[in-house]
């Protein structure tokens, strides 16, 4: 069963169609990448899932039904526009926001302590939020997102302002949540993080669904016929079935002839007696896919 089912939602603001007939679902135990260029409609979609905005048309089911007060406790949200109360001590701010998620004060205190310790914020607990650095505020906001142990976590650019150590820690936390069977919707422009973390992705542009599926499927569908090879010695001048050999960073990219199969090329190489360290089908990085698709959309969109 899906945690979130989005059916054909649309949302218009004045002249702008922010989201256009969008459908997707998010399952338990996955990290779901919500991708798209700036202004594609990601935040509006997230806000509709959270019931902050109502869709003009379409339907959203969350935990098997409409969004209700009780269900808001099961969701943790890290908005793109970070915001905390600035003029009050960190601990009071986080306690209030956790209480709004339905936690009692006796539940909050020990859990908050754990998180503050984990994020190295214990000493800052009595400082006013505005006195904290950007990175510290970011960590504090992550605590607000996670403290009530939500079933669904929606995070927008979770790694900005974090140093590599904290980035690793947050990644580990997200993976741990996934392994506990929780669902995470992650919106980010850092494609390497998506490649590393996401199980499935949705790419939207101009409010419309452009790509949707598992990361693997999508990358494979964009894979060319090319093969990446790292040999121990030099490659032969010509290989049967290979149209062109390009050397890049000690590796070789073999551009295959139209109907040649990678398996055949591998077989030919072995028959030639070439020792190989590595042989893989060239998978385009997500970054390239993103750029390619969005550029194509723009061309299509503008006629």
């Amino acid at each position: 069963m899906s945690l979130v089912e989005v059916h054909n939602i649309s949302k218009r603001f004045g002249e702008t169609q922010a989201v256009d007939n969008l459908s997707f679902e998010v399952r338990p135990g996955e990290i779901f990448g919500l991708l798209g260029p700036n202004g594609a409609g990601k935040t509006t979609s997230i806000r509709m899932i959270l019931d902050i905005f109502k869709p003009d048309s379409g339907e959203i089911n969350i935990f098997g039904g409409k969004m209700e007060e009780e269900k808001k406790k099961l969701v943790g949200y890290l908005p793109e526009e970070r915001g905390l109360y600035q003029d009050i001590p960190l601990q009071r701010c986080l306690t209030f926001l956790a209480a709004l998620k339905g936690m009692s004060e006796t539940e909050i205190a020990p859990r908050l302590n754990e998180y503050l310790e984990q994020f190295d914020l214990l000493e800052a607990r009595d400082k006013k939020v505005k006195e904290l650095s950007k990175g510290m505020q970011q960590k504090a906001q992550l605590i607000t997102t996670l403290i009530h142990d939500p079933q669904l976590v929606i995070i927008d650019e979770p790694f900005t302002s974090l140093d590599p150590v904290n980035t690793e820690m947050v990644k580990d936390m997200l993976e741990a949540k996934r392994n506990e069977g929780k669902a995470i919707i992650m919106s980010t422009h850092q494609m390497n993080q998506v490649e590393e973390l996401c199980d499935r992705i949705l790419l939207i542009d101009h409010g419309k669904r452009v790509l949707y599926g598992t990361l693997k499927e999508i990358q494979q569908s964009f894979a060319s016929q090319d093969v990446m090879v790292t040999p121990l010695v030099d490659l032969p001048e010509s290989i049967e079935g290979v149209r062109e050999i390009r050397k890049t960073n000690g590796r070789y990219r073999l551009v295959l002839e139209k109907h040649a199969k990678p398996n055949l090329v591998l077989k030919n190489l072995i028959n030639n007696g070439t020792d190989l360290v590595e042989f893989e089908i060239a998978v385009p990085p997500l970054n390239e896919i993103f750029i390619q698709v969005v550029k194509k959309q723009d061309r299509g969109g503008n006629g």
Partner: protein
């Protein structure tokens, strides 16, 4: 319900623990208390006529003389001590008395005084300001003598009307209209009330605008409905306002009671406990009206700066009774004050002014309360309509026309900016 309470509690605790708030809370009653205390310590006991000695300094010690060439002064009034105004037969004698330090100055009433009114004032150290001030005594003495050396006649001349107002309304309390306090007591009550409503309502606007500026709104929206947020804020900050009012009014009341003798406020001019009773009701309703309006402004504007600029328009109605306070105090039951006290936006402080002056017919109090409650219901509904995620997450320069449009329930499409 639970979330409304959480917001209420949070806003209440946050506001009352803020240093600036605590300072205002304590300083506002403390300053007049100190002044009062100062008056009763340093000046109060010296003066027999109840006016503070602080306000009538040094010239009591001044000794003066006069040369009466016109032959007007035959006798000094009984209450003028003989050595404060010494008669001299001629200029020579007076001059000598001044140079020997016997007296500080003398008056020369010239022989053609009855035609010209000419009096010369001669003193050694000429002080133009003091000279203007210090003619009171000779004035009194000349008048007293012109009126035939008759204290009773003089008193009647000085205060020709001892007006006793008899209202057909038997509840009306007699007020000593001649006392300047008849003006200042209601004026004080009105100002206090104005400041109370305005500070609590402004708290509301700052609060909402700040939440938008801090961008904490989106986090809140993911846990709580805008209406719950609005309700919690109205209640929480209302409690803060009530606390402030009880403290301020309580200390003002104490000061009047304890310090009443110092300032010599006759009991008939002191507002009674019923004023406090009605005061609480009118404060709560006035707060609700203005805080709701301010919350609406907060919901529309993007930041604190815009919000502050917009305040002016919102508080205009509550300023009207302040401009007209003279009329209201003078004739509290005339048509204009009565109308102002029935219009919901001007009612809270007009009514308080009138109550501080004297009793107000019960039907007017109840009518005002009814119109205010109705207004509160309409306003809360309208502003709840503005408390929508779309507006709370964006915001534009304040525009009075749009504000009223929104207030009257119109969809404000132009404000629905693209957010993503």
């Amino acid at each position: 319900m639970n979330k409304i309470f959480l917001v209420l509690k949070y806003e209440f605790i946050n506001t009352i623990t803020r240093r600036s708030f605590l300072l205002t809370l304590i300083l506002v009653p403390l300053i007049p208390a100190l002044i009062l205390g100062g008056i009763s310590l340093f000046g109060g006991e010296e003066s027999a006529d109840g006016e503070s000695g602080l306000f009538q300094p040094s010239q009591e010690q001044l000794k003066e003389g006069y040369v009466d060439q016109a032959g007007i002064i035959t006798e000094l009034p009984e209450d003028v001590e003989a050595d404060r105004l010494v008669p001299y037969p001629n200029l020579e004698a007076a001059r000598q008395a001044v140079s020997s330090g016997e007296i500080d100055a003398y008056y020369l009433i010239q022989s053609d005084y009855l035609q010209s009114g000419a009096v010369q004032y001669v003193r050694e150290d000429f002080n133009p300001l003091a000279a203007l001030e210090e003619t009171g005594l000779i004035n009194y003495v000349i008048r007293f003598n012109l009126l035939g050396v008759d204290q009773q006649r003089f008193d009647a001349y000085a205060n020709p009307l001892e007006v006793e107002r008899i209202d057909l309304n038997p509840d009306d309390v007699e007020r000593d209209q001649s006392s300047p306090l008849a003006f200042y007591v209601p004026y004080g009550v009105t100002m206090l009330f104005y400041v109370l409503i305005l500070t609590s309502a402004s708290l509301m606007m700052n609060n909402v605008a700040k939440e938008k500026e801090n961008r904490v709104m989106e986090i809140l929206m993911s846990s709580i409905k805008p209406n719950q947020l609005l309700a919690g804020k109205i209640l929480g900050l209302g409690l803060v306002g009530l606390l402030q009012m009880i403290l301020w009014v309580g200390s003002a009341y104490l000061m009047l009671r304890l310090g009443g003798s110092t300032l010599n406020i006759p009991p008939s001019l002191q507002p009674g406990p019923q004023v406090i009773f009605w005061g609480i009701i009118f404060f709560v309703l006035g707060y609700l009206i203005y805080a709701t309006l301010m919350a609406g402004v907060g919901a529309l504007v993007p930041n604190m700066k815009e919000a502050t600029q917009a305040t002016f328009y919102i508080i205009l109605p509550i300023l009207v009774p302040l401009f007209m306070i003279g009329i209201i105090i003078d004739r509290p039951n005339a048509l204009v004050p009565v109308i102002l006290s029935l219009i919901p936006f001007t009612a809270p402080n007009t009514m308080m002014t009138r109550l501080a002056v004297g009793p107000v017919p019960l039907w007017q109090l109840l009518t005002a309360i009814a119109t205010m409650i109705l207004t509160v219901v309409i306003l809360i509904r309208a502003v709840a309509g503005m408390f929508r995620a779309q507006l709370l997450l964006t915001g534009k320069k304040f525009n009075l026309r749009l504000y009223f449009k929104a207030l009257f329930g119109q969809e404000i499409e132009t404000l629905n900016e693209r957010i993503d």
